[in-house]
């Protein structure tokens, strides 16, 4: 990503008055980011002026021609700070954006609702069991980089369980979820953790025999 392609995006957003969300913004290299901060400044200044004087709907963006500006233009950035291969945003760019920290969502609620929308009737109990298993797995199993017990992993298991449920609607829901959880996670469990994970699943779904 160089500053010219960023300029194209900014000019497009300004002229249509759209909102733009830059995902993984801190993957842009630091040299480009410092130019980007001036670009953002150009736009924000022009928007501020437009607010005061609605007649002034043209502005000069960097050293390009004068372009049209709509008042609704907006920029947003989403990113994961502190990852490997990511840059720290420069201070002057940070000053142009309002920062907003996101916290870990309440996965139990999300899980319950997704189970319900996939057609499970006892979603409340199942979602509790589900999250219990993931919480315990996170703390009891060995720390492997490839283990992921986050929201994305939860969503894929639920989608898979939904598929199983629709394929065989008459089977007990506990069995379906247990099978989904086991099928999904088993391939990535390392040898030393297998017994623990097996034990966890057995404790959470007792008296359930999986018929293949």
């Amino acid at each position: 990503m160089n500053y010219m392609s960023m300029a194209q995006i900014f000019m497009g957003l300004a002229q249509t008055g759209s909102w733009g969300c830059f995902d993984e913004f801190n993957r842009i290299s630091i040299e480009v980011l410092s130019v980007v901060s001036t670009q953002v400044k150009y736009c924000l200044d022009a928007i501020r002026e437009l607010k005061l004087n609605p007649a002034k709907n043209m502005f000069v963006f960097m050293d390009f021609d004068e372009i049209f500006l709509r008042i609704t233009t907006g920029f947003f950035i989403t990113m994961n700070p502190g990852y490997a291969g990511r840059t720290e945003l420069p201070e002057n760019l940070k000053a142009l954006f309002r920062s907003c920290a996101m916290v870990v969502p309440d996965i139990v609620k999300i899980c319950e609702n997704m189970l319900m929308s996939e057609g499970f009737t006892c979603a409340k109990d199942l979602s509790k069991k589900f999250m219990c298993l993931y919480d315990l797995s996170k703390s009891l199993l060995s720390k492997q980089i490839h283990y992921d017990w986050g929201l994305r992993a939860v969503k894929s298991v639920l989608r898979q369980a939904g598929g199983l449920k629709r394929a065989e609607p008459d089977i007990l829901e506990d069995i379906i979820l247990k099978r989904g959880l086991k099928d999904f996670n088993w391939p990535k469990i390392v040898v030393e953790d297998r017994n623990i994970f097996d034990g966890l699943i057995r404790d959470l779904f007792p008296n359930i025999v999986i018929v293949p």
Binding site: M1, N2, S5, D23, E24, R27, N80, Y83, A84, G85, R86, Q144, I145, H146, D148, G150, R152, A153, S156, R159, Q160, G163, D183, F184, W186, P187, K188, I189, V190, V191
Partner: protein
């Protein structure tokens, strides 16, 4: 296809697990130490699917053998000329059924065989999540069609960020899952024609 491999139970289980992962995910990491049979697992699955009437075609790229620009393509800063990269060409051909890829192929895999580096894997984030679109610097967008799968064959994920890990399914091949026995058995099978059972008795 003849890989001279034996159908060990644990090995077959891993192949089946890979098939199950690929059913639900369009992107999968196969993780295991060298010699853990990572390559053999997907090759056997590809062969088995082709034999079962689900034609499977694959292309292997070593992402660290080329620079990120050569992998995804880059714009010449002077002439503004677009130069395609290895991955973008393969993905576009698979998407449009150009070249060796035909509509009858039920599965089209891109195998990225080589260690993960944030330099290139992060650019695949949009492919690996639900967007399923490769965005290039030229502002071209190549969508992943339903038959297409991305398989990353790596020995570890030490350099991968959590953002990357959470996006793909994971098949972990333990050293003990396949082990050395199958290697020995298929190697010795090549010698079995000549009478001696000495080697067998040694192990």
């Amino acid at each position: 296809m003849n890989l001279q491999a034996n159908a060990e139970d644990l090995f077959v289980l891993k192949v089946v697990q890979l098939a199950e992962i690929l059913d639900v995910r369009h992107c999968c990491f196969i993780i295991g130490n060298p010699g853990a049979a990572k390559t053999t697992i997907w090759k056997v699955l590809a062969g088995a699917q082709t034999m079962g009437g689900m034609d499977t075609i694959y292309d292997i790229i070593d992402p660290k053998a080329v620079s990120a620009d050569e992998l995804f393509g880059c714009m010449n800063p002077k002439s503004k000329e677009w130069k395609d990269g290895v991955l973008s060409v393969i993905m576009r051909d698979m998407n449009k059924n150009n070249g060796p890829y035909k509509p009858h192929h039920k599965y089209k895999w891109i195998i990225l065989d080589g260690d993960v580096d944030p330099e290139w894997i992060e650019s695949l984030n949009t492919v690996m999540d639900d967007n399923k679109v490769l965005t290039l610097v030229s502002q071209e967008r190549i969508p992943l069609t339903p038959p297409m799968r991305l398989i990353l064959e790596v020995s570890h994920l030490k350099n991968a960020t959590p953002a990357t890990v959470s996006r793909g399914g994971v098949l972990f091949v333990n050293d003990s899952d396949v082990g050395w026995r199958p290697y020995f058995d298929s190697w010795i099978a090549g010698y079995k024609k000549s009478d001696d059972d000495v080697a067998d008795s040694v192990f």
